[in-house]
């Protein structure tokens, strides 16, 4: 479908109304975040950023994302490979299971981990005996983040691998390539952009998770507060400028995510056009 310059008045009306909706729902909120973060001036902004609790929250958030992203990439490749390369019983069920975290309230996800690892449960007691703290500590935050982010890389890779088909890989097998070689030389180069895209999306979700993390975090200042939890905490304490400073950091990550996503779609489109021209 080619896009066209709008011609009639009613087409312009459609566009104007659409832009107005976008202004109210998307542009103004984004502008408001930064305006509130800067509302008390630069020096307050810098001071808010250098507070110990802010630094700690940034550290914990980055740490969680840094661990969740690679784990999700490995899991995504494994599951996408096995549901698109083989026809076996239970394949559809496996694909539905991947979607569970999508459809579930994050608070319920947190509750599941509380029911498994909380201090009054069997596993929780055992961990307590070994002096390992999971709930109300960073391992719990990491685990629920892994739960919530697990579908993204998989959902991006599955349709792509399905569309690409298996011809190249079968050719590699018939030439005697090992499974590892096929993965690293044939499959991965074909999906590297999608993997990067998956990493970007997973990172955005890992950084921003709120509901699940708030159940298992215990919200202890300087210990278990991630950036989104800090936003809520500061907002509840009526420290609006500080709350929006943390929010602005998260908004920057969101904008970066959108830019990277658009860039990758652009590259993908260019490649497709080149391929079509080559034919």
């Amino acid at each position: 479908m080619k896009t066209r310059r709008p011609q009639s008045a009613h087409q312009w009306l459609i566009i104007l109304l659409g832009l107005l909706m976008a202004l109210v729902m998307l542009v103004l909120p984004l502008a408001l975040i930064f305006s509130k973060a800067f509302s008390e001036g630069w020096s307050v902004l810098v001071q808010n950023l250098s507070e110990g609790y802010m630094q700690h929250a940034i550290g914990l958030t980055v740490f969680t994302a840094l661990i969740s992203v690679p784990i999700n990439i490995i899991f995504g490749i494994a599951i996408a490979w096995c549901v698109t390369r083989y026809e076996f019983r239970g394949r559809r069920l496996l694909m539905t299971l991947v979607d569970i975290p999508f459809s579930m309230s994050p608070v319920v996800a947190g509750m599941c981990y509380l029911a498994l690892l909380g201090t009054e449960t069997v596993v929780g007691q055992w961990l307590y005996g070994k002096d390992v703290q999971v709930i109300f500590a960073w391992p719990g935050i990491l685990l629920v983040t892994l739960f919530v982010t697990s579908p993204y890389v998989a959902r991006i890779l599955i349709p792509l691998l399905q569309a690409q088909g298996t011809e190249e890989e079968i050719a590699a097998v018939s030439l005697g390539a090992s499974g590892w070689k096929i993965l690293t030389r044939v499959t991965l180069p074909n999906i590297k952009w999608a993997l990067l895209y998956g990493a970007v999306i997973t990172n955005a979700r890992a950084v921003g998770e709120f509901g699940a993390v708030s159940v298992v975090s215990g919200t202890i200042m300087n210990q278990t507060l991630t950036l989104p939890l800090l936003v809520e905490q500061l907002n509840n304490d009526y420290k609006t400028a500080a709350a929006f400073t943390a929010a602005a950091l998260l908004a920057c990550i969101a904008i970066l995510t959108l830019l990277l996503k658009s860039l990758m779609e652009y590259i993908q489109k260019k490649k497709l056009e080149e391929a079509q021209r080559a034919v």
Binding site: P6, I33, M104, S105, C112, A115
Partner: protein, 276 residues
Amino acid sequence: MSAFSFFKRPPVLPGFVPSFGFAVLYLSLIILIPLAALLLYVSDMSWAQYWRAISDARVLQSYKVTIQGALYSTVIVSVMGFWWAWMITRYDFPGRRILDALMDLPFALPTAVAGITLSALFVSNGWLGQFLEPYGIKISYAFPGLVLAMVFTSIPFIVRSVQPVLEDLDEGYEEAANTLGATRWQTFSKVVFPAVLPALISGSSQAFIRSLGEFGAVIMIAGNIPFETEVTSLMIFVRLQEFETGAATAIASVVLVTSLALLFLLHMLQARLARR
């Protein structure tokens, strides 16, 4: 080959065991065992205890608020999302690329941030709230705010479901309809809309399921007034803070079973729509 062989087609490529093994192990550890733990925890409760926890008047009201909010927001976001997808795929206007990129903002922006921002925007002295206040329209800290938050977080589900279908739609059909004398409205309702409908249904269902579970954005704007704007996810949280872990888990199990049922329904619906 026996009728009950595991593979429906013998595998050609190597690597089934490691990929399948790792995927199943990971899914079990991260998703299935915690889910089972929640259900096991609940099964320890007596039926009377369980029933009291999930049918408390305040909790019942929260189910109603959540379902109502999700229904209203799904209808609103379906119209808005379709509108945007239509604009982006049909017309060339200044800012088109930026608008296209912005459609994913609700997905990339943490829900808690979305919540405090929309709330600050529509509060009675906020940038937009100040214009609504004289008319007595209250959005932040009221039910409309809850719906607004759900609309915001659902935007990408509709747009990204409908957009690819609109893009692939063959212009020939519309031109044919025009040449045959169809009015613009007839072309839209008889040619374009039926083609997009399966994608719209799928996107709306995802938006609805997502809205039922939305937490971060909603609690920041809804004001969380008992019996009025408390969603079920929040009720779980309230019970936790009252150190009623059993009651919290019981309510969570209701939400869990509902969302699993909806997920399976959605997958069946999508499979059926794909076959048509």
